[in-house]
Subunit: 137 residues, 2 copies
């Protein structure tokens, strides 16, 4: 699969404001986008740190994917997202190489990105996302 490299690193935080503040104070991070997505159970902010992008994810409640992640493992690094030109083509190649997928077709992710997740079991425990920055209308 061809990728342009890491698009962002997803990080689960208990509170989005505290996360943004910490990354600003310690690492000079600057907020790029911020979005509340109730149907995905997250409040998210992308933070640019020296040209790299972090995606901070705070749960809107305990019974959400990020809420359950934090309950079981604590806050911390959640996933790695790689940028590709074509998510559907990437999924085809991943499947051809035997990778188990979470999303078998591209879906709308945070910030209007087209995304799909690969199962962590396929990548030695790393929840892996493929992202295309071609935003839907």
């Amino acid at each position: 699969m061809e990728t342009r490299g890491v698009h962002h690193i997803g990080i689960a935080v208990a509170d989005i404001d505290e996360g943004v503040t910490t990354y600003g104070l310690l690492l000079g991070g600057v907020v790029e986008h911020r979005e509340l997505v109730p149907d995905q159970g997250v409040e998210a902010a992308t933070v640019i740190v020296g040209g790299s992008r972090l995606e901070l994810l705070a749960p809107t409640g305990d019974d959400t994917p990020v809420g359950r992640f934090i309950a079981s493992r604590g806050p911390g690094i959640h996933h790695i997202a790689y940028e590709v030109d074509d998510v559907a083509a990437a999924l085809g190649e991943l499947t051809a190489n035997g990778a188990e997928l979470v999303d078998t077709v591209p879906r709308r992710g945070l910030f209007g990105l087209q995304v799909a997740f690969v199962h962590p079991d396929a990548v030695h425990g790393v929840l892996t996302e493929v992202v295309s920055v071609v935003r839907e209308a």
Copy 2:
């Protein structure tokens, strides 16, 4: 603290060869450096994926830092490293901003890099490394 952005993402894997193979097959990753460091209890390989760098870390035994990480959490994302020009200066700024450090002075890390780790409690559960690519003689 000024950073050039993410230098690498550290990933704990059970077996370095399997890790390298998976990242090559699924994501087109190409090995940059590889090193066995018995006194740190790791076999490490940096893998370039589309211009981004992953640092795969396999333990040389169960009673090693990476071995204990895998025993308690399973394989997966281990840390984020940010590139800085001067590790000592970065540590000074981090301390001034109240961050608890693992390494209060720079030390020699993998691949001859000058490194220091920030305590995960200071960064919402994320083990955070600062790295300078100025290699020691």
